[in-house]
């Protein structure tokens, strides 16, 4: 019987991470494979959070098939998650550590599947494991995994739009030009836009990159993103705003280039 050594911090306080309150501490380290249930909440599936459980019914079904050794279920799992995992791992551990972190995450996922209860999406559950693996990797390699999102530069003062584009009263002097006027319908679905965005995401500071990846590329809900990254809801919103604003500017530059 193989057992991955879990982060010591993921033990006792494991259950308390899931209540989604904005007042939760910012640096909380979420449990790896602990059940996503608030402390004291009855564990029975029927007793609480029924809508949420129903929402992840597909994930529970998938996990059951995985545990039964279904190869197609395995295909589905890795096809769906490996690339997003690599993207997030690169953000957390850089190109140097990404492979290793993903590798270790898969090991922990395979070992922990029996404990998946569908309290969050399977994707979220896996990303949370990955975040913890990245932190462990950072400690081991004596590198700072950029989980200190608050230190991602001067987020508070960095504006969404270059201040030079407004006059003294806050009105546009250099307003945005509608993209649709210069471009056919569906332009944003074009492959090159995807490539531009991919490049620009890589250029974001790690905190913004992680939040944009999880929220906008992967479509994880806000509460789950906070939990995965161990950040407060307010901080997440700032990072999301900065990230999106920077990417809009990048697209604007690309679409209106000479």
């Amino acid at each position: 019987m193989l057992r991955v050594s879990h982060d010591s911090s993921a033990g006792a306080g494991a259950g308390a991470a899931a209540d989604g309150t904005a007042a939760a501490p910012a640096r909380r380290v979420p449990a790896e494979t602990g059940p996503l249930v608030a402390a004291g909440e009855p564990g029975g599936a029927a007793s609480s959070a029924a809508p949420e459980c129903a929402a992840h019914g597909d994930d529970i079904a998938l996990v059951r098939r995985l545990l039964a050794g279904d190869e197609r279920a395995f295909e589905q799992l890795v096809t769906q998650l490996h690339t997003p995992m690599l993207r997030l791992a690169r953000t957390l551990a850089g190109p140097a550590g990404a492979q290793e972190v993903v590798q270790e995450t898969w090991a922990a996922v395979f070992d922990g599947l029996v404990r998946f209860e569908g309290r969050s999406a399977l994707k979220t559950w896996v990303f949370r494991i990955l975040t913890n693996r990245a932190r462990t990797w950072g400690t081991r390699e004596k590198r700072t995994v950029p989980v200190a999102w608050q230190e991602d530069g001067e987020q508070g003062s960095e504006p969404a739009v270059d201040p030079a584009r407004f006059d003294g009263t806050g009105d546009w002097v250099n307003p945005p030009v509608p993209w649709t006027e210069q471009s056919p319908e569906g332009l944003l679905l074009r492959k090159e836009i995807g490539a531009v965005l991919q490049r620009e995401i890589e250029a974001l500071v790690p905190g913004q990159r992680a939040v944009v990846l999880l929220r906008d590329v992967e479509g994880c809900p806000s509460g789950e993103v906070c939990e995965i990254l161990g950040i407060s809801e307010a901080n997440q919103r700032v990072l999301l705003h900065r990230g999106r604003s920077t990417l809009r500017t990048a697209l604007e530059r690309y679409l209106t280039r000479g």
Partner: protein
Amino acid sequence: MLVTCCQLTEMITDRKEGKLSSEQEEGCARHLAWCDRCRTYLRQMELTVDALRGIPGEPLHDEVRAALFAQFQRRKTAAD
């Protein structure tokens, strides 16, 4: 609440996330009703978010897939 164009560009995400006070919300709505420039800006933010949703990942290589499957099998066997 009076909202300038500059302020509006900073309130867009909070608005989408439903985090504005009713005063702020009302100020934004009133501003957007008369300012087509900010409507354009808002639209571009929305288009950006939409485009992010469709970003493709790199394809998974067969060797990686095979290695993962072997790992999965080993873990499973060990656990049984």
